[in-house]
């Protein structure tokens, strides 16, 4: 009888102590297969690197990866699985489309969500945040570069998706009062492969440079068809050229992208993976570390509630991240800088950074 009671008591106590160290689950939705799998792989490697570097934390951290192929329909099933089955505490998404799918669900279900996205709508609500270079920062650098190069007529080829729309809407505002005008804006649907007629329409617009706002594979097909149409007008992009593996299509072209990560992060990442960081990699590394640092800061030894995590994130100031000194602003945005880059010898290279 005594032995039985001791045994039951032992297991009850063991159970309760296990409960107190219940792991914090972080769900990551990124493209692990498909045309942008190379981006998802980079994000996965960065988060695993950040997790490996954790030392002496109060809680255990578990990361669950879900593949959405950057397709919003797949994002919806991935987020429902992460919340309902895996019971994650935090979700990280990549892209404005997926971010816009997850944001309302995260808000409704009270789960902290960090998006790597251009569209500020992704950060709406108390539980949603963004860590990405916002369109305003990118366009500031983009317009300055257009002015520096004396370009006044801009042609736009724009994929019909939230991220591109957010960037172009901000760009239109920023161009007001400058000498630069958008002489043609050709909108097309995701999945389109025949751009010949919109290229024909844009060809006679007098554009001095074409801004391509598209994901892979539309971006590559569009660039190929522009060349096939005999158009030799220079091409540029905001983020776009790093959304494809076929960067050689844009050899010698300049574009605007998120600023470089710190040298320390680049060496750590390259040592682990043997590759250079791709788009969103430093952001995902920062988000993981920022979330962990925030959770560790919350007082008590019982796993914090999502509400507490979200509130603590809003108080983050001067966080030392892979993308420099980071703070969360009143809109839930962790802002990082933009830079002008160029494809040189098949590799992206920064040619000038924002002040």
């Amino acid at each position: 009888m005594v032995v039985t009671l001791i045994t039951i008591g032992y297991f009850l106590l063991k159970g309760s102590s296990d409960f107190s160290v219940e792991p914090i689950k972080i769900g990551v939705i990124a493209p692990m297969t498909g045309n942008t799998a190379f981006l998802g792989e980079g994000i996965r490697d960065a988060i695993l690197l950040a997790k490996e570097n954790l030392n002496g934390t109060k809680y255990k951290y578990e990361v669950i990866f879900e593949d959405d192929q950057l397709d919003s329909k797949l994002t919806a099933s991935a987020v429902n699985k992460l919340i309902s089955v895996d019971k994650v505490d935090v979700i990280i998404t990549f892209g404005s489309g997926p971010g816009n799918v997850v944001a309302p669900i995260a808000e409704q279900r009270g789960v902290v969500h960090f998006g790597i996205a251009s569209d500020p709508n992704v950060a709406k609500g108390n539980y949603n945040f963004i860590h990405w270079t916002p369109p305003s920062e990118e366009n500031k650098v983009f317009v300055a570069e257009l002015q520096r190069r004396g370009i006044n007529k801009l042609g736009v080829f724009e994929s019909n998706q939230q991220g591109a729309a957010a960037v172009i809407a901000d760009l239109r505002e920023r161009l007001k009062g400058t000498d630069i005008e958008i002489v043609t804006d050709q909108l097309f649907n995701v999945g389109e492969k025949d751009f010949r007629s919109i290229i024909t329409k844009a060809k006679n617009s007098g554009a001095e440079i074409y801004l391509l706002m598209a994901f892979s594979p539309e971006l590559e097909v569009l660039a190929k068809q522009i060349k096939e149409a005999g158009v030799d007008t220079p091409l540029t992009s905001i983020e776009g050229f790093e959304l494809t593996e076929q960067v050689d299509l844009f050899e010698g072209e300049w574009y605007v992208n998120a600023a470089d990560a710190t040298g320390d992060f680049i060496s750590k990442f390259s040592a682990k993976t043997g590759k250079s960081p791709t788009l969103g990699v430093a952001n995902s590394y920062d988000i993981f570390n920022l979330v962990v640092a925030t959770i560790e800061k919350i007082k008590g030894s019982v796993k914090p509630l999502s509400e507490e995590i979200a509130q603590e994130i809003t108080r983050v100031k001067n966080f030392d991240g892979a993308l420099g000194n980071l703070s969360v602003n009143e809109d839930g945005l962790v802002i990082s800088k933009a830079a002008v880059r160029m494809i040189k010898d098949g590799e992206p290279a920064t040619i000038s950074s924002a002040e």
Binding site: N35, A37, G191, K193, D194, S197, K201, K203, N204, G230
Partner: protein, 288 residues
Amino acid sequence: MAIFLQLILNSIIAGSVYALVALGFNFIYGATKFFNLAHGVVAAIGGYAFFYFARILGLNIYLAVVLAIIFAGLIGYGLDKLIYLPLRKRKASNMALLVASLGAMTALQAIIAILFTSQFRTLSQNISTQKLFEVFGGVITQTQLIILLVTFLILSALALLLYKTHFGRAIRAISDDEETTRIIGINTNKIIGHVFFIGSAIAGLAGILVGFDTGIEPTMGLNLLLKGVIASIIGGVGNICGGVLGGFFLGFVENFGIWKISGEWKDAIAFALLIAFLIFRPRGIMNK
């Protein structure tokens, strides 16, 4: 004027792709009287088979094209023998055949994605250098010119086959009344099997050419099928000349439609045209 000429050229290029898909689709529909939704994925199989033979096995391009076309044809033949023929023998309705073809399409699409991943690939890369031709101030690529020529060659070959051979007469007889054709001693199942082989081989060829022009991905078949079906309905479903006419008509309406409005409405224009035909001329341009 230059824009106008280039738009005409763009319409012909897009129309020839739609026409090529509609040719195979109409050829099969003419004999079986059901919408073979797996026709699009057979086009994707053609593209991927070429990719496998030419890029993975490193075979000669022309040999790879021939093998890929035969492979696509065999897939179509296999679909008929394994799925559609047993259903026809059980007197299954056309709706049951349509649902079965939808299932085949989904399964084959998934198999392609498993074998080759869902990544978009361009067949022309590292295989041939794209030559550009200037026609009346407009530009057309070598691949697009080949697509156009192939469409008319296939149309001529099918017309000859249908109207100048015993085999063609048998197909037309099946198309008119399969039951009576069987009673007079023609092995209709064998003929339909051959029709599936030929129609699917044409789809496979379309998949290869589209792969050279833009690229291949496992889901490419659905879009090709939709445009091919619209072209068939516009021209006259089951009528091979109608399919070609419908393909070019669709190409012109889509490309001139987005001249003044945004390119995002291109698919909407195609479907609006389909609805208009279904309401005002449901049998299409060629069928009375």
